[in-house]
């Protein structure tokens, strides 16, 4: 096992034959993975187009719902907002959210909109795609969250995205 070393210029050792062999294996694996990536990329582009189409339809439906909600009496909306603030204070919402997060996922920002329903928008960073998928799956299965809508994903290294959802108070 390598000893801990916090030096800003850590010691370097000469490459051994095993290191060179591993380098060659790594180069071969890189070529293979590049070929596989090109194939996967084409499939991904097709899937993205389908997802985008579905998302547009969903957003149009949500806009319509919001328009209908906006027609409600203002006094009723304020009363509901006050009730929600009591029934679902931010620490409770956050605790329910954090309880669903795998260790490989962290939150960069959380936005709560106290309306009817209580809207939650989170900026998420996941160390890898499976962790993000697990988080999404948990959110979708959770009785506390509904209307889970994942945003565009940036998969440049870490996965960064935002998720919109609504919260159901207990």
């Amino acid at each position: 096992m390598t000893e801990r070393d916090f030096s800003t210029r850590p010691r370097r050792r000469a490459a051994r034959p095993l290191d060179l062999a591993l380098l060659a294996v790594g180069a071969a694996a890189l070529l293979l993975s590049a070929y596989a990536t090109v194939n996967a990329w084409n499939g991904r582009q097709r899937a993205r187009a389908r997802v985008e189409e579905t998302r547009n339809e969903l957003q149009a439906a949500q806009s319509r719902v919001r328009e209908l909600e906006a027609q409600r009496e203002p006094a009723q909306a304020v009363a509901y907002q006050a009730l929600l603030t009591v029934e679902a204070p931010p620490p409770s919402v956050l605790a329910d959210l954090v309880a669903l997060m795998p260790g490989d996922v962290r939150l960069d920002a959380v936005n709560l909109s106290y309306g009817e329903p209580l809207g939650v928008r989170v900026d998420v960073v996941a160390r890898n795609a499976p962790a993000y998928d697990l988080f999404l799956d948990r959110l979708q299965r959770s009785p506390r969250f509904a209307d889970v809508l994942p945003g565009d994903e940036n998969r440049d290294g870490e996965l960064r995205t935002s998720i919109q959802m609504t919260y159901r108070p207990r």
């Binding site: 801990r4 070393d5 030096s7 010691r11 962290r106």
Partner: protein, 283 residues
């Protein structure tokens, strides 16, 4: 009995620089040599962000005196930096990633300096856990510069609390009982609660010297035991500068604690439990 070869350590803290040649065996530490040189107040101030070596000439003088006393010469030494400069955290590391990489994901975004300035290393633990430490590069460079200025040949560079913890976890004690280890530094201290070799809680606090610090330390021990899921009378061990006095005062007030480790042999005029950095010999 298996025994490690003696290695040279030089530890820096706010109050002094100390070091020696240390070997480790199952019977305990063996100090082949040991020396300690006090530092003028304010010459070195352990802190996580600002430069720590406030008056480099005075620190370098103390290191030169230490090197002369220990006859270090050109031999490479392991430098140990004090508690209070690093962000420490206990992590459960996924199987598909190294603790260093995982620390960059979990810990570094919360640091108040750019990610590329963080120097990270880990103390691996059983069961996929690790203690990770992130130190600001500029802080480390200050220590490296003063060591070079004093003529020390730097081998590797470790943190005293991590070195101490690795030594203490080598002897985790009774697997049925919780142990809380207190690692004292001049500017900060660590509390580690573990049972059966599994680290359950790790806390890192700044020191606040004063007449009631003993009581507050005892309360922190209880708090740590509670956090670890067992608030009822853990075994308590202490290492670090002032450990002997603290143990005596705790005993006087009815508390029960013991030194974190002892010397295997008579040891160059030093009480082993006073030297937290001795744990580096088992790393």
């Amino acid at each position: 009995m298996r025994r490690s070869r003696p290695r040279l350590f030089v530890a820096l803290d706010a109050g002094s620089v100390s070091g020696g040649a240390v070997a480790w065996s199952a019977a305990g530490f063996r100090l082949a040599s040991h020396a300690r040189v006090p530092l003028p107040e304010g010459a070195l101030v352990p802190a996580p962000f600002a430069p720590n070596v406030v008056r480099p000439a005075e620190v370098a003088d103390a290191l030169r005196e230490l090197a002369r006393t220990l006859r270090i010469g050109a031999a490479p030494v392991c430098l140990l930096l004090p508690d209070g400069i690093a962000r420490l955290a206990r992590l459960e590391v996924p199987a598909d990633v190294t603790p260093q990489q995982y620390a960059r994901f979990r810990i570094v975004p919360g640091l108040p300096y750019p990610a590329e300035e963080a120097v990270i290393d880990v103390l691996p633990l059983a069961g996929g856990r690790a203690v990770v430490a992130a130190v600001r590069r500029a802080v480390v460079e200050g220590y490296e510069a003063v060591a070079a200025q004093s003529g020390l040949a730097q081998d590797r560079l470790d943190l005293t609390p991590l070195a101490a913890l690795s030594g203490l976890l080598r002897d985790p004690g009774d697997a049925r009982a919780l142990t809380v280890d207190v690692i004292l530094g001049d500017a900060a201290f660590c509390l580690a609660a573990h049972q059966g070799g599994a680290l359950r809680a790790l806390r890192n606090r700044r020191r606040d010297p004063g007449p009631d610090e003993d009581r507050r330390l005892a309360e922190e021990v209880q708090r740590t035991a509670f956090l670890a899921g067992d608030g009822a009378g853990p075994r308590v061990r202490v290492v670090g500068d002032g450990a002997g006095d603290l143990l005596a005062r705790w005993r006087h007030t009815g508390g029960a604690a013991e030194p974190g480790w002892r010397s295997a042999e008579p040891s160059a005029g030093a009480e082993a439990s006073e030297l937290a950095w001795l744990g580096g010999a088992v790393a």
